[in-house]
């Protein structure tokens, strides 16, 4: 992960987090991550792809510091602030919280009183304004569109001014328009200097929007730009299924390989 949105190598910048030959397994289970070497640097915008159970979520937990390797080392920049956006499917949308209350949850201050201070109110308004949802502060989280809901949880993560933003499958369970909206928003945040790592199943979405891709299946199968990584060989290694890659307007487009039926002879 050593490429900025402009495509220039930025290897000289000290990493925010470095995974050095890291392996991880759940107690009495097989290896979930095996000998991973990875560095996340300021300005990175990276997508983690791989099949279900390939270790994407564990990798995010490792970057968050919530999982500890069984071997290898995780180096984190001292004082690193990491923001995290969970999957929308994991949110209880019937919970009685307004947009304002949700964003305030991640307030870094250890304020004793339940109500927000003037500074916190200004900060919430500032973050919501930055994401274009300033007028939704008093709404219940269920009363929002898919894109607005994603923005609320991105706002909660941004409230603590993180150096690194991690998102767990921000494009799953959302419609095409919301996916487009979210990836554009993340691109804008990255252009402002925020390092972002997200996990996704959306190969074509990240090919169109993200400068860096990591293909993961317990081990790192490929790492680089979408054009370098999204190849039929690496994708078959990663997913264990044959896929074709078309290049359209300079971007790779991953499609399922047509199945030739031995019974009918039709393809």
């Amino acid at each position: 992960m050593s490429r900025s949105t402009t495509g220039q190598r930025v290897v000289s910048i000290a990493p925010l987090v470095r995974l050095d030959d890291v392996s991880y397994r759940y107690p009495n289970g097989p290896l979930v991550l095996d000998s991973i070497n990875l560095a996340v640097r300021p300005g990175d915008f990276t997508g983690l792809v791989g099949p279900s159970g390939s270790g994407k979520t564990t990798m995010l937990q490792m970057l968050l510091g919530m999982a500890h390797p069984v071997s290898g080392a995780v180096e984190r920049q001292p004082g690193l602030r990491v923001g995290y956006v969970p999957q929308v499917e994991s949110i209880n949308w019937n919970f009685p919280v307004t947009v304002f209350e949700t964003v305030l949850m991640s307030s870094p201050t250890k304020r004793t009183w339940p109500w927000a201070s003037s500074a916190e109110k200004r900060r919430v308004a500032e973050v919501l304004g930055r994401l274009g949802i300033a007028d939704l502060s008093g709404r219940h989280i269920r009363q929002l569109s898919g894109g607005q809901q994603q923005r609320v949880f991105i706002a909660r993560a941004l409230f603590s001014s993180p150096d690194l933003l991690l998102l767990d499958e921000p494009t799953s369970g959302v419609d095409v328009r919301t996916r487009h909206e979210v990836l554009h928003l993340l691109g804008d945040l990255n252009a402002e200097g925020l390092a972002i790592v997200l996990s996704t199943h959306d190969l074509n979405g990240i090919a169109a929007h993200l400068p860096n891709v990591v293909c993961l299946h317990t081990r790192v199968m490929g790492m680089g730009t979408a054009l370098e990584v999204l190849t039929p060989e690496i994708l078959e290694l990663t997913y264990g299924a044959p896929m074709d890659v078309l290049v359209h307007a300079g971007m790779p487009l991953v499609v399922d390989r047509r199945h030739h039926s031995p019974l009918t002879g039709a393809s």
Binding site: M66, Y84, P86, N92, N94, F95, V97, M105, R111, P114
Partner: protein, 284 residues
């Protein structure tokens, strides 16, 4: 009208009962918000039964009821948390196993030590009209302590209730918040159980927050509303009990149910259908 309101105050035990019922209603309404939003409505019912086991042991071996039953209730609650975290067993099953086992233990002790029978029956069915000044001080103390804890830990408790897995990422210890809530709940049940009885605690924990949820989409407002509804239904229930000569515990619960029915009818007609709490599986 004035006489209707002041008449019960002529008797010391009724003054005590009015105060205890009002404060117990407020306390259970406040904690019930967390209980229902965590999908743990069953735990109020379960914990009160678990504490019955502790109460039986205390009576049998002559240990202070509050200390013994409190420790027992807390241990049962934490055991439920531990078993639930293994994920193979759901919270409802964990509560069913641990708290009914504790209840059965209490019943077994009842058979072995017949002399404890009288105090156990008072615990199971509640005795609102035998409330002492000491009971008033205990419930007021527990309620004040709970209110202070809820204010001080408002934000981490909210985060751990809404989004426990992410809360850990943001530095909130969800296991500590779970234990804190279980501790508060145990003391609330202990101090309310004498007046409301083992069988009625669950209703007072669940109905006020459910009504409050139908009236608001804000967590802060839900806490205030639920506490107020709990207090008012406790007070009105006691008054009705006195004037209609009906047992006080059922009166409190029936007033709660009447409020629920009215609010459900009104908000349901306006289309507030997304309001019922407890949609997520229990995480404690």
């Amino acid at each position: 009208m004035w006489q209707t309101l002041t008449e019960p105050f002529q008797f010391a035990f009724l003054r005590h009962a009015l105060i205890v019922c009002t404060v117990a209603g407020a306390l259970c309404g406040l904690l019930g918000v967390y209980v229902t939003l965590r999908g743990m409505s069953y735990i109020g019912h379960g914990l009160s039964h678990a504490i019955f086991g502790g109460a039986a042991i205390c009576a049998a071996i002559g240990v202070n009821f509050f200390i013994g039953a409190g420790v027992w209730g807390l241990a049962s609650g934490l055991s439920v948390s531990r078993v639930t975290r293994r994920r193979i067993i759901g919270a409802d099953a964990a509560i069913g196993v641990i708290t009914t086992a504790s209840f059965a233990f209490g019943i077994a002790l009842l058979g072995l030590y017949s002399r404890v029978k009288q105090s156990i029956e008072a615990t199971v069915f509640g005795s609102v009209l035998g409330v002492s000044r000491g009971d008033v001080w205990i419930i007021v103390g527990v309620a004040l302590a709970t209110a202070v804890v809820i204010v001080v830990f408002y934000r981490p408790l909210l985060f751990a209730t809404f989004d426990p897995e992410v809360a850990d990422v943001f530095g909130v210890s969800t296991s500590r918040m779970d234990a804190l809530l279980m501790l508060l709940l145990s003391f609330a049940i202990l101090s309310s159980m004498k007046v409301l009885g083992v069988t009625l605690i669950a209703a007072v924990l669940v109905i006020p927050p459910t009504v409050a949820r139908m009236l608001t989409n804000s967590f802060g407002r839900m806490l205030v509303l639920s506490t107020t509804i709990g207090a008012l239904t406790g007070l009105v229930g006691m008054y009705l009990s006195y004037h209609l000569d009906i047992a006080s515990g059922p009166c409190v619960v029936l007033v709660n149910f009447a409020v629920f029915t009215v609010v459900y009818a009104v908000t349901g007609a306006r289309g507030h259908t997304t309001a019922a709490p407890g949609f997520r599986r229990a995480t404690l």
